[in-house]
């Protein structure tokens, strides 16, 4: 087990390196530099390049990034907040915490609502409730996140004025409602669908029939026997789900004007703020890759039958 975790950890570091390399070379493949403005002279650009080490060969620059990341230094912003260390922008200005808070709540909401809904649907298979849930979840996975976010915004904030239009830094409970719904709706629906399918699979197994024959109550069958086994495919989905919540946060943060990491990343890409792009990519991919690792290990714990070396879908 320990060996497995170690191996996966090494592989994760490798993936992170590849992501950083891809990002770095893609970023530098674009002609131009972050310092070109309408007024700047070639001398100024050259001076700025020299100041931030952009005149060195690419491979040296890349090495410098890696070395400073190992030392916990994410560099300074080149353009958007020139000269400010990226760690300050991300952590002290609360961007990172904001995104993580939003993402974790959305994740919790999806799991807490989605999985029970799936169970309920599976246990009332063929009933009106099941039919209703099926329609809702099927439509739910076909609505793009930004459409839902905008519709919520227009209905509840602009027309009805129940909720604030700008969620800002999420300082009151009302501000959370719409971002969380928009972030978790798709995932809740998907989880409910997935749980229903795998639950139905589990219910038809022999051991459930045995438990029933022994006179175990329905409630205890669901919780002790069926749910445990039906959670395996659900756990596999958690990895993509976390990535999906980060993706969704790009949209939700710009719709509800939340100054989080997702919005910041999009802006940094559009502004070509190299260090910020690299730093946000580093943080976000480390997060996703780490969560994937956690999911893989959890997967192994839930189902010891899974072989350790490779994960098959």
């Amino acid at each position: 087990m320990l060996l497995y975790i170690l191996k996966r950890l090494l592989a994760s570091v490798g993936t992170l390196l590849v992501v950083l390399a891809i990002t770095f070379f893609l970023m530098n493949a674009v002609p131009g530099s972050p310092f070109i403005t309408e007024k700047s002279t070639p001398e100024q650009i050259a001076a700025a390049n020299a100041k931030y080490g952009l005149d060195k060969p690419l491979i040296v620059q890349f090495k410098n990034y890696l070395v400073s990341y190992c030392q916990g230094d994410l560099g300074v912003s080149l353009k958007m907040q020139e000269g400010t260390p990226v760690t300050d922008i991300m952590f002290h200005q609360g961007k990172f915490q904001l995104s993580i808070k939003l993402g974790l709540i959305a994740l919790l909401v999806s799991v807490i609502i989605g999985i029970p809904l799936g169970c309920i649907a599976a246990y009332n298979r063929g009933s009106g409730l099941d039919g209703f849930l099926r329609v809702v979840t099927t439509v739910g996975v076909a609505i793009p996140g930004f459409v839902l976010a905008t519709l919520l915004l227009v209905t509840f904030a602009v027309k009805l004025q129940w909720l604030p239009t700008i969620s800002g830094s999420l300082d009151n409970v009302k501000a959370y409602i719409m971002p969380i719904i928009s972030l978790s709706f798709y995932n809740t629906c998907y989880l409910a669908k997935l749980t229903r399918t795998s639950m139905l699979d589990a219910i038809n197994q022999d051991y459930i029939r045995t438990a029933r024959a022994k006179g175990v109550t329905t409630k205890s069958i669901v919780i002790k026997h069926a749910l445990r086994n039906s959670l395996i495919p659900v756990i596999t989905f958690l990895g993509p789900l976390i990535a999906g919540i980060i993706t969704g946060s790009f949209v939700v943060e710009s719709t509800f004007s939340i100054p989080g990491l997702g919005k910041y990343f999009v802006q940094s890409v559009l502004n070509r703020d190299y260090t910020v792009i690299m730093a946000t990519t580093f943080v976000l991919s480390a997060l996703v890759i780490f969560m994937n690792l956690v999911v893989d290990i959890a997967y192994k714990i839930v189902d010891p039958r899974i072989t350790l070396s490779s994960r098959e879908d």
Binding site: V19, L26, M27, P144, F146, A243, I246, V266, L270, I289
Partner: protein
């Protein structure tokens, strides 16, 4: 037959009674025809894989309805623009910001322009698409006389003009196709007369039937319905091409990996795992920005018609394809590999190998055709995910470039004016949802019918 009965029956019963008693009729003793013979055969006629799958698919009402809805969406996207007299890029003057089912007064009325000669300009049926004739002076010949007039706008289908008082005041329509290259008319038809008093009128309220803007128009006066149709077309094309790219790369990669096995398989699967754990959205966003300028330069410089065609799609769309080719094929590769691992132990593969078939031939002739069910299902479910990705990118301001539209870019354009014109978001969003929903349901139906083992 009666004679037969009469001849052989020992009891000399009335054949009529026999017929009634045994439910026989006159033809009962004829030799069996082909269909009767066939009904006696116990074996069913062998049904091909596709016919069988289609039979199962037809039994699935939800998927059939979804397929019907998707076909309607395809018609809306591909045939729709032919029935609407507007174009997705045309900006109609005085027709900006119209609501659903509205049209502007200017579109409805025929206008009198003061000048040397009074000429009416027809309501544009398809304004702006003809540029062959410039503004300028034209002459018209009627009854041996020549009348000069000025045109300051040219419509494709017709010019309606009001003749000067030299002859009877009348409205004439001149078909645009009857204008010869030097700019003079050769024939015209008289369609309407007005009285001379109308000569002084600023505007003649000749009301014309106008095709309404069913979904309204946007802030530049472009017809929203046509734009939605084109957007749906672009989105569907993106989805299908991206899915095909995934299909090609994923199936080749997966089957090579599965068939080769051993170290090759190990390395290829590590690469897949690596790509699988890359947070793709970060890379997608970067690719969008990075590829924009180089692709545009490539499109502009190339003379290859294929490249030119790609250029018409725009660099945003092409980089979406590149993204799919780089990152999204891994799921397909895993699925195909799994199938190939099962299939390659089958006897026919061993037989093919023994007969000296190359790996390439085995993959092409034996392995891939046998996982066609999985290939179709995965490809079908890839389409909505590509459409989603494109709309997501368009929302963030990347994706297709104007005046081209996709459903995603239409939605994101609508966001700026969302509180004033909510319907601008609602129409493309509904179409987008319907397309994705129907494709998801068709995909589910395909899974149940092509691969019954997976049926839940």
């Amino acid at each position: 037959m009666k004679e037969v009965f009469a001849k052989y029956s020992p009891f000399q019963v009335d054949p009529k009674e026999l017929e009634e008693a045994f439910g026989l009729d006159e033809n009962s003793f004829d030799s069996a025809n082909e269909s009767e013979k066939e009904s006696m055969v116990e074996m069913h006629k062998s049904i091909s894989y596709w016919a069988d799958a289609w039979r199962r698919f037809k039994a699935n009402h939800v998927s059939m309805v979804a397929l019907g809805v998707f076909i309607v969406c395809m018609l809306f996207a591909f045939a729709g623009p032919k029935f609407v007299p507007y174009n997705y890029a045309d900006q109609l003057r005085n027709a900006q910001k119209l609501g659903p089912m509205e049209y502007s007064k200017q579109e409805q009325q025929i206008k009198l322009i003061e000048g040397k000669c009074k000429a009416f300009y027809a309501t544009a049926l398809r304004p702006g698409s003809i540029t062959a004739l410039d503004k300028g002076n034209y002459v018209i010949k009627k009854g041996g006389k020549t009348y000069a007039f000025t045109l300051d706008q040219i419509w494709e289908d017709a010019v309606i003009m009001y003749m000067p008082s030299g002859i009877d005041a009348e409205l004439i329509v001149v078909k645009m196709k009857d204008i010869v290259s030097d700019g003079s008319f050769i024939t015209y038809d008289v369609v309407n007369y007005t009285d001379t008093a109308a000569e002084d009128a600023e505007e003649l309220s000749l009301v014309k039937r106008v095709f309404p803007h069913v979904f309204g128009t946007d802030s530049s006066g472009r017809d929203s319905m046509v734009r939605t149709m084109f957007g749906a077309r672009v989105s569907i094309i993106i989805g299908i091409i991206a899915a095909l790219i995934v299909l090609i790369i994923g199936s080749i990669y997966g089957s090579i990996s599965g068939l080769a096995g051993g170290t090759v398989d190990f390395i290829m699967m590590r690469i897949v795992e690596l790509i699988y754990s890359i947070p793709e959205v970060l890379v997608v966003l970067l690719l969008q920005v990075v590829l924009k300028d180089p692709l545009q330069a490539w499109f502009d410089s190339s003379k290859n018609p294929f490249v030119k065609g790609l250029g018409d799609l725009g660099s945003g769309i092409v980089s979406i394809f590149i993204t799919f080719a780089l990152l999204y094929w891994v799921t397909m590769a895993r699925i195909v590999r799994g199938q190939v691992l099962q299939l390659k132990k089958q006897e026919y593969v061993t037989a093919a190998t023994a007969l000296g078939a190359s790996s390439r031939r085995i993959i092409k002739r034996h392995l891939l055709p046998n996982c066609v069910g999985q290939l179709v299902i995965t490809t079908c479910l890839q389409i909505p995910s590509a459409i989603f990705l494109e709309s997501f990118l368009s929302f963030l301001g990347m994706g297709v470039s104007a005046p081209m539209a996709s459903l995603g870019s239409l939605c994101s354009d609508a966001l700026q004016t969302i509180s004033l014109f909510p319907y601008r978001l609602i129409f493309p969003a509904i179409i987008l949802t319907i397309i994705v929903l129907s494709l998801n349901l068709v995909g589910d139906g395909l899974r149940d019918s092509l691969d019954p083992r997976l049926k839940k």
